[in-house]
Symmetry: C2
Subunit: 276 residues, 2 copies
Amino acid sequence: MRDLAAHPELFSLNTATVRMQWSLAQAVEGCARHGIRAVALWRDKVAEAGLDRAARLVRDAGLRVNDYCRGGMFTAPDLEAAREDNRRAVDEAVAFGADCLCLVVGGLPPGSKDIAAARRIVADEIALLLDYARPLGMKLALEPLHPMYAADRACVNTLRQANDLCDRLGPGIGVAVDVYHLWWDPELEGEIARAGRAGRILGFHVCDWLVPTTDLLLDRGMMGDGVIDIRRIRGWVEAAGYDGFVEAEIFSANNWWKRDPDDVVKTCLERYRSVC
Amino acid sequence: MRDLAAHPELFSLNTATVRMQWSLAQAVEGCARHGIRAVALWRDKVAEAGLDRAARLVRDAGLRVNDYCRGGMFTAPDLEAAREDNRRAVDEAVAFGADCLCLVVGGLPPGSKDIAAARRIVADEIALLLDYARPLGMKLALEPLHPMYAADRACVNTLRQANDLCDRLGPGIGVAVDVYHLWWDPELEGEIARAGRAGRILGFHVCDWLVPTTDLLLDRGMMGDGVIDIRRIRGWVEAAGYDGFVEAEIFSANNWWKRDPDDVVKTCLERYRSVC
């Protein structure tokens, strides 16, 4: 396993971790201040800054965008609008020279109880988006989300399911392994190995599962504050050949989003070294 | 598929649905008032009423106890105390002539991040409890719980995992299929069929997944108010040979637990006929 303490350059800050405190420009400055070399960026913050200005800021700072957040939501009522929006997301990812566009695929269409049908829509729509993204060289990172998001955020909920989908979709797509979503899965080690054999692990995201968890979306924990054996899972990912960034992504409405952002980043870096 | 509207006797009330409103004696009276023939009982309410009195009340009312809630929590700090308590739970289930003792197996031991180890403890402890329950003829119903409970309530989180465990444990154990915990699983249909082939489906529990869900434990929905295609899943369960009760179990701190219990039960029965 890689010694993270000796490799601060492998840390990536998902800027959602400080989304309440920092604009994109402030996040870029913050990364410089803390010696951070890679970021995951979100489209809303890019839109706020303006795409051209945002791309210039990031480029001038020498920051690598390992992950562009996000495409997906394929099960929206207006399929054509979702397609157009996803193509724009690919274009934006290209503008940043991002390593991949992360996909949160969407849950059930409004009024639907048919999750199998939602999953078919997702497969079809990703295939279409791949036709657009492949010639542009932009990889898509399918992110299986925790089953508690199956209804409203993503109906791809296990790494096995994501692997199966990638097998069918062919080149240009891989998976993002997020410990928060996947830590509980008894098949995780095997499915990580499978993803590694296919050369498709495009990201490794960390935060922690708190006990108790008080909100389904916005109560994620700082690495080390919960019950996930992050290092063990990182061991599996690296044994499967992953040599990319360790991306910290913490949605935390009542804790980390309320703190001084420099302290949040410092804590992330400290836990990256000591816990991840 | 069975026509539930023509078979009110297949309904079972899990008394947790009205736990805030009714004592065990009140629940027994309520069932009589509403023509309900089967119940799932909880140990705390039994203890409150006294075991002998509770068993007499239930027997005199001619109520069938299709499910006794619950054993498990095998990963507690004091293993020996948990064993003793689980044996008592079996004895109580026998006293009620229950069809099975439901098992919520427990999550991570305090301070542990090793979910694989927790799962090994659970397998070992169930094996021990089976040695006690088999001679008494009390079946154990392993209930896989939603992955959002993996840390603190149950580290058995999919029906595949429960089936695998049952395969290893031999006779005397089966599974409870609860739509709330399992509806999201892409492998659900196949694993229900597998459980059916093994003759091990011991229960079918219904409520609904609300969007949004505001609490991980206590915001379950009335059948029909959420996104679960309950009838489809019941179709799978019955195609797999299940001919037992449809048990309504709704934990709902801010809605159903605050309502008039007779209205709650009436609504359950109405939805049982029209939705389940």
